[in-house]
Amino acid sequence: MIFWQLFISFFKIGIFSFGGGYATIPLIEKEIIATHHWLTLPQFCQVVAVAGMTPGPVGINCATFVGYRIGGVIGSTIATIAVVLPSIIIVSLLYYIFKKYLAKGEEAVKVFFSAMAPVVLSLVLTAAISIAMEGIKDPRSIFIAIAAFILSIATKLNILFILAGAGLAGLILYL
C-alpha cells in the first residue's frame, strides 16, 4: 500500500515538475511533507542538501533518497521509476511529433525552434546566474568562475577536468 502511494506521489511529481533541478523541489516538498507526512522539514532539508552534493540530476537524487527513507531499496527503486515514467511517455510523444513535422516541412520547424531558442537559453542562463549568486562569495570564487567560463569556451578541455580542477583549487584556497 505504501509502495503504491509512493509510486503515485512520484509519478505526480514527474508530471508536474517543470524547469528542471531545484525548480522541482517545492513540489516534492508539498507531496512528501504536507500531503503524506513522510518526512519532517529538517529531514527533507538534509535530503535536498545531499541530493545537491551527490552525482546526477537533483530530481532523481531526491526521489531515490525519499524512496529509501520510506521503503528501503524497493521504495527507492519504485520512486525513481515513478519519477522518470512521465518523462519517458511525454518526451517520446514530443519527439514523435517533432519528427513528423520535420518530415512535413523542415522550414516551419526551423522557424519555430529558432523562435524558441532565446526562451530556452534564458532558463539555462537563469540557472547559471542563480548558481553564481549562491556560490560566488569572494574575489577568489569570481576568479574561479571566470577562469572556468574562459577555459570551456576557448579550449577543448573536458569539462569534467575543469570542474575537478576548480574543486582542487577550492581545496587549496579555502582549506
Binding site: 546526477g56 530530481g59 532523481i60 522550414e107 531558442a117 569539462i159 576548480a166 581545496l171
Partner: protein, 210 residues
C-alpha cells in the same frame, strides 16, 4: 597421463582460449561496444561525475554528443534542449531520452536514460545506507566552494556557445535578456515563460508560412 601429455593438453587449451579471445575480445565479451552501450556509457560518465543537477550536466552532454562523439549537430542539440525543457520531469533525464531517441531509436533512449539515472541512484543508496554521518567534512566543503563557482562558469559558457550558434539578430538577444530578467528579478514561473515563448513561436511560424 604423464607430464609431457599434460603440458600439451594444457597448451591446446590455451590455444583454444586464445582463439576465442581473438574472436570476442578479452574476458570473453565483445570489446567493441555497440551503439546502445556507447550511449549508456557516455551518459553514465556524465551522470557519475557531475554534481549539482541537470543544468550542470548540460554543458557536459553538449560537449560529449556534439563535439566529441559528433552524434548530433549543434542545431539538433538546440532542438532537443527545447523539447527537454518543454516536457515536465527531470531536465537531464528528458535530454538523455530525446538524444538517445535520435541516435538509436527507443533502445537508444532507454540506454541514455539508464546511464543518466544509474549513478544518481547508486550513489544515493550508498550514501543513505552508509556514509550519511561522514558527509559534512571541511574537505568536502572546500572542494564545493571551488567547484560551484566553476559550475556557473561552464553553464554560462554553454549559453554563450549555443547563443552564438543559434541566436540571430538584436531581437533574439533582447528576448533572451528580457526573459532572464523576468525569471531572476520577478521570479516568473519557468512554465509561463515557456508557454509564452511557444505561443510567440507558433505565431511567427504561421506568419512566415502565410
Amino acid at each position: 597421463m604423464n607430464f609431457k601429455q599434460l603440458t600439451t593438453e594444457r597448451a591446446k587449451d590455451i590455444n583454444k582460449i586464445r582463439a576465442v579471445r581473438k574472436k570476442t575480445g578479452l574476458w570473453g565479451v565483445n570489446i567493441k561496444p555497440d551503439k546502445n552501450t556507447k550511449i549508456f556509457l557516455s551518459f553514465l560518465k556524465i551522470g557519475a561525475f557531475t554534481i549539482g543537477g541537470g543544468f550542470v550536466m548540460l554543458p557536459l552532454i553538449r560537449q560529449e554528443v556534439v563535439d566529441r562523439r559528433k552524434w548530433i549537430t549543434e542545431e539538433q542539440f538546440m532542438h532537443f534542449l527545447t523539447i527537454a525543457q518543454s516536457s515536465p520531469g527531470v531536465m537531464a533525464v528528458n535530454l538523455s531520452l530525446v538524444i538517445g531517441w535520435e541516435i538509436n531509436g527507443f533502445s537508444g533512449a532507454l540506454s541514455g536514460l539508464l546511464g543518466a539515472i544509474l549513478p544518481s541512484f547508486a550513489s544515493i543508496l550508498l550514501i543513505a545506507i552508509m556514509f550519511l554521518k561522514y558527509f559534512e567534512t571541511a574537505w568536502l566543503r572546500a572542494f564545493f566552494q571551488g567547484a560551484i563557482p566553476a559550475t556557473s562558469g561552464v553553464i554560462g559558457a554553454v549559453v554563450f556557445v549555443l547563443a552564438r550558434k543559434n541566436l540571430k539578430g538584436f531581437y533574439q538577444y533582447a528576448v533572451l535578456l528580457a526573459a532572464t530578467a523576468l525569471l531572476i528579478f520577478w521570479h516568473w514561473n519557468p512554465v509561463l515563460i515557456i508557454i509564452l515563448g511557444m505561443i510567440t513561436a507558433l505565431f511567427m511560424t504561421y506568419r512566415r508560412k502565410a
